[in-house]
């Protein structure tokens, strides 16, 4: 299928810092799932923040429907692409439902308030994220994992075509990790949602994802189908850990560290 979202030869340098990312390309088709893996500091977050439009690439281009991302009016872009950051630290005691409702903003006409339909969509998004029971709570009183579920719900309320997630499963327990993956798989089936996810959770990537991008020091080490990328020697290079092992069992890949 023809990709609707493309990143070509992206590079990023932080001011007065070293080159964080160089020459990464990625194309995203409808209803696809891509994982971005790599060691800490390998440029994964920088890369996905560029895709989200939060960082402007030092070189290369990002195209959404053939038009440069920077040329999209921010509101229209926000209807197409949603981003779930690693962590959100909201200082003020907002209600969970209000935070999720904020995801409707790109769809609400300017100088109008969200209506009943938006509220329902926000509630549905909360249900999809498995966080409906949190609706009336204060975000400041939630645990790290609960906050991530709320952030996911907010991103879903945006009803995007492309969902970008930066390590969404880090503080989720086993149950919610499974729920997250089920939700993403379902939205891909039902709505044709495309997903790009930065993750350390290699077990998650084996069966569900269509492709994996492995980064080392800001560069692509390997890019391809999970069974191509999830290999012992390749992962050993990506993480700089000689004892990492990967084995394919059926359509699952098992990754572990040999003692």
């Amino acid at each position: 299928m023809k990709p609707f979202f493309e990143a070509r030869h992206l590079a990023y340098t932080y001011p007065r810092g070293p080159l964080a990312v160089r020459d990464i390309s990625l194309s995203v088709a409808r209803a696809s799932m891509t994982a971005v893996i790599g060691a800490n500091g390998s440029g994964k977050s920088t890369f996905i923040r560029m895709l989200a439009g939060l960082l402007r690439p030092s070189a290369g281009e990002i195209l959404l429907d053939g038009l440069a991302l920077a040329k999209w009016p921010p509101r229209l872009r926000a209807r197409e692409i949603a981003f779930m950051p690693q962590a959100t630290a909201t200082v003020f005691p907002f209600r969970v439902l209000d935070v999720v409702l904020s995801g409707r903003t790109p769809h609400v006409p300017q100088f109008r308030l969200e209506n009943e339909a938006d509220r329902e969509k926000a509630m549905q998004a909360l249900e999809s994220a498995g966080a409906a029971h949190l609706a009336d709570r204060y975000v400041t009183a939630l645990s790290g994992g609960e906050k991530q579920m709320v952030t996911l719900a907010r991103a879903l309320a945006q009803e995007p075509r492309l969902l970008l997630l930066d390590e969404p499963s880090t503080s989720l327990d086993l149950k919610h990790r499974a729920a997250l993956m089920r939700t993403l798989a379902r939205l891909r089936e039902q709505r044709g949602l495309s997903i790009v996810m930065v993750t350390h959770d290699l077990q998650l990537t084996g069966s569900l994802f269509d492709s994996i991008v492995a980064l080392t020091c800001g560069e692509v080490t390997a890019q391809g189908r999970p069974d191509e990328v999830l290999q012992s020697d390749l992962l050993a290079r990506v993480y700089g850990e000689p004892n990492v092992r990967a084995r394919r069992i059926g359509d699952q890949t098992l990754v572990w560290i040999e003692a």
């Binding site: 959100t88 200082v91 904020s102």
Partner: protein, 337 residues
């Protein structure tokens, strides 16, 4: 801690604005009724003395308090959202201090001319406030992160340096100039006639509206800056706009009434406490409640002493200082999970 289900936003907005409008009307009535000179309202039509007292002194003063209170509170609410810091306000961020410095320079140099009918002091104060905001923001921001501690510390330091600069100016001036600065510094809402109020409103009104128009953006920024960036907010542009508008609003109020502290801090908190965190309620709500608050504080200042009056800044300081400390203590509840 789960609580009652959330009312829909239009309902909450309507409820908040009606309650606060009633409060403002009541406060204005009290402000107009109270004063050392007893006013016989029934004689307002027949008695020229009563009429002059009312229209030339009492009403302008109440309107002045209303304008300044609304201005300080709405800028405080905007700055708290922008910096995601419950302790931010024009005073703690050094905006008031910078404005005071700008105004003193203009007064010291005897620049008493007007531009388009607006006193030059207003512009000088605006520039001073802008300079302070720029300084505080530059110092506190490293890369993409604003450090909350550094923000308030640099704000306090900018305020102290401004105060020292004003003091130095006073010593360098001849006695009459020094006295002019001193009298202005004490800060007073005294004003004669309606005309100065109109001139202030000419600048403040549009700035208020522009700030209110940014309330959705500020709402998203208050929740999370990154998220706001991906929800269609142009974060850099919004930052610049809010800084400029708050500098203008605070600059004008400081030039007109001196630096009045803490209104911008405690009023937005009271609004949030009563009506929730949504900035589309907090901004207009703060505007109304700030107006009511300063009108009442001024009424209190006028009758607190058996003879003479207290500066209104003393009243807001005495109320606001302890409120600030209480918030500082409560802040742990905000940030610690």
């Amino acid at each position: 801690m789960s609580t009652a289900p959330v009312l829909s936003l239009p309902k909450r907005l309507f409820r908040a604005l009606s309650v606060l409008t009633l409060l403002l009307i009541a406060a204005t009535a009290v402000g107009l009724a109270v004063g050392r000179q007893r006013l016989d309202f029934s004689g307002l039509l027949s008695d020229p003395f009563a009429r002059t007292l009312f229209f030339q002194l009492r009403l302008p003063r109440v309107l002045m308090a209303l304008l300044i209170g609304a201005s300080l509170a709405v800028s405080g609410a905007a700055l708290q959202a922008l910096f995601r810091n419950p302790l931010a306000d024009p005073y703690t961020l050094g905006v008031s201090g910078g404005g005071a410095f700008g105004a003193s320079v203009a007064i010291a140099l005897g620049l008493s001319f007007r531009v388009l009918g607006i006193p030059f002091v207003f512009f000088a104060s605006f520039l001073g406030a802008m300079l302070a905001v720029f300084l505080v923001r530059t110092i506190a921001r490293t890369g993409a992160v604003t450090l909350p501690g550094a923000l308030l510390l640099s704000g306090v330091v900018v305020n102290l340096v401004s105060a020292a600069a004003v003091l130095t100016l006073q010593y360098l001036m001849d006695p009459s100039g020094a006295l002019r600065i001193l009298r202005w510094m004490v800060g007073s809402l005294d004003v004669v006639g309606i005309a100065p109020i109109g001139r202030m409103l000419l600048l403040l009104g549009p700035a208020w509206l522009a700030l209110l128009a940014l309330s959705t953006q500020l709402h998203l920024l208050a929740i999370d800056e990154d998220t706001a960036g991906t929800l269609g907010v142009n974060v850099t542009r919004c930052n610049t706009a809010v800084h400029m508008l708050c500098s203008l609003i605070v600059g004008v109020t400081v030039a007109a009434g001196g630096a009045i502290g803490f209104v911008g801090l405690i009023v937005p908190h009271a609004v949030r406490f009563l009506f929730g965190e949504d900035l589309r309620i907090v901004l207009p709500g703060s505007l109304l409640m700030g107006a009511a608050f300063l009108v009442l504080a001024d009424a209190l200042a006028r009758i607190a002493l058996p003879s003479g009056e207290l500066p209104v800044g003393a009243i807001t300081g005495l109320l606001g200082g302890p409120a600030f400390l209480w918030l500082l203590r409560r802040r742990q509840q905000y940030t610690v999970v």
